[in-house]
Symmetry: C2
Subunit: 152 residues, 2 copies
């Protein structure tokens, strides 16, 4: 089963509808191929006092990319669950001086399988997702985000 | 030298003027006494798909509390510098189901002194600030944020 353009559009609508701040950050779901999910955001809506991207915006877009990736993955597996961020380490490597993209990379298939089995057995599982903010061809921000998944 | 109500009001104006997202998050500078700085934000402007506070908003308000604390500290010392977030570990301990407050706690005096000396000598220094999000009397989110300070 693959993620379709309709899934991507539904995720975009859900993000903007359910999280007011996502509207203000003008987040767009660029694409998703089940191995990764890309969200973009413009600098203008997300700038700081130095005219570069605000660290809180970079973090928020990245955390939503990881959340979106897991949301589509669980939907594709027919699992109805809530996904919430539990902890995160974020490293700012370079200032971001323009529009930017957050790329969430899917965990290995074996890790996803283990998460799905734990969820089926205990109704709850933890899973790490790596997210990078890319700007002008370089990795500018790196996150290792841990999410808790709870079966609805 | 102490932080005055005028400093606190100037910080509030600066936050809302220079960071568009701070306006949308409806952040307010509650108070500052040089040992801590408190920012508040309402749930309505910062909610997620579950009706609790969005993890990105909690992070953003907390990181701005640490930034505000350092900004006032450096101003009080007569140091003109830029402060940017470099890395952060964030732990979400409890869901936040109402308006919330971020409390940044000043580093020990010896740590602030060392930061000021390093800044004077090299024009650049790193400093950690602990920030907690409090909600209904409990610590709900905990951050250890590292900032880089660069003399202007």
């Amino acid at each position: 089963m693959t993620t379709t353009a309709a899934d991507t559009r539904a995720l975009q609508a859900r993000l903007l509808e359910e999280i007011p701040l996502a509207r203000h950050m003008e987040i767009r779901v660029l694409c998703s191929d089940r191995r990764s999910l890309l969200l973009s955001a413009p600098l203008a809506a997300n700038s700081n006092h130095k005219g570069t991207a605000f660290g809180g915006s970079l973090y928020s877009v990245a955390v939503l990319a990881g959340w979106g990736l897991l949301t589509l993955e669980l939907e594709a597996r027919g699992i109805d669950a809530q996904i919430v961020i539990q902890e995160c380490q974020v490293d700012y490597l370079l200032p971001v001086s323009g529009d930017f993209t957050a790329r969430a990379t899917a965990p290995d298939a074996a890790v996803l399988e283990r998460c799905a089995r734990t969820l089926a057995r205990y109704g709850r599982a933890r899973i790490d997702v790596a997210v990078a903010i890319e700007h002008a061809g370089s990795e500018a921000v790196r996150l290792r985000a841990t999410y808790v998944v709870v079966r609805s």
